[in-house]
Symmetry: C2
Subunit: 157 residues, 2 copies
Amino acid sequence: MNEDISDDLTSGDDSLAEAGLAPLQSAIAKRLREAGLRPTRQRVTLGMLLFGGEDRHVSAEMLHAEALTAGEHVSLATVYNTLHQFTGAGLLRELAIDGGKAYFDTNTSNHNHFFIEADGELMDIPGDSIRVDGLPEPPEGMKVSHIDVVVRLVPKG
Amino acid sequence: MNEDISDDLTSGDDSLAEAGLAPLQSAIAKRLREAGLRPTRQRVTLGMLLFGGEDRHVSAEMLHAEALTAGEHVSLATVYNTLHQFTGAGLLRELAIDGGKAYFDTNTSNHNHFFIEADGELMDIPGDSIRVDGLPEPPEGMKVSHIDVVVRLVPKG
DNA sequence: GTGATTGCAAATCTTTTGCACTAAA
DNA sequence: TTTAGTGCAAAAGATTTGCAATCAC
């Protein structure tokens, strides 16, 4: 909730094996342990890619490619497993934007998205800028888990 | 926009070949022609299932099963084609609710959805009850196509 | 050690595609 | 007839699964 894992650690080099990343590595390991997940090499690798920098939106395919580029072998199946485990642990949020492909958002706090339909690009809208009013009562026995707002964009003109 | 295709025609019998459905059949055929689509047997069949009653949310699989149950053979590939053609013609709207599967909504007017995560059930929220405020300016050269609001529900307590 | 985790390949599921056949205009 | 539309089966893409090998504790 309040460890400053972000910033200043990932910039300047792409290799996760670099010496300067050791602190990030253990911060991630700690975070995983706290979430009840064993900090295996693969989970730490993916955790560093996901949480080592700014908030981001990733698909399994993208994350897999990044891990390989960073010189760490992780199988695609493990990337899928890990993304779901992280989601279950509240470290990620799964996004349903377009059918066919799952995206995961490292920002699990309340916020919404611009989606550019032409090229599938996703952008955060800060959580406090949008307000949703006039929500009817949920059906009996149900309560609101959360509200997803997707603002779909097309080229102007 | 104003043909009363709905109600009173689909109730009472499941077979689309029934005599009483002839008026619906030609209403659908007309609607397809106006949309620039040839009213083939398959399209009329699917159109009757989709537009013959209340507004609904369907997947390709569901609609295919219904057509077969109604005694009309339509291939699954044709169901997919048809759903996309109808969507292109503005007769349906595609929904991105959960990844992995596409849903289509026969209600193309402005409205939003409750989504019950536990069983994947979708419910309409009337278009005029929800208001979204505080939308930031879209990025340069982009304009808002439309805004999807999905209110995710979980069991209370 | 022991149980959790991983990798691989095969399996599954949804959706798309190619092409010969059929039907609408 | 002419062109759009359909069916089938194969292909493609995303994700899951089974199981033996490997790793964290």
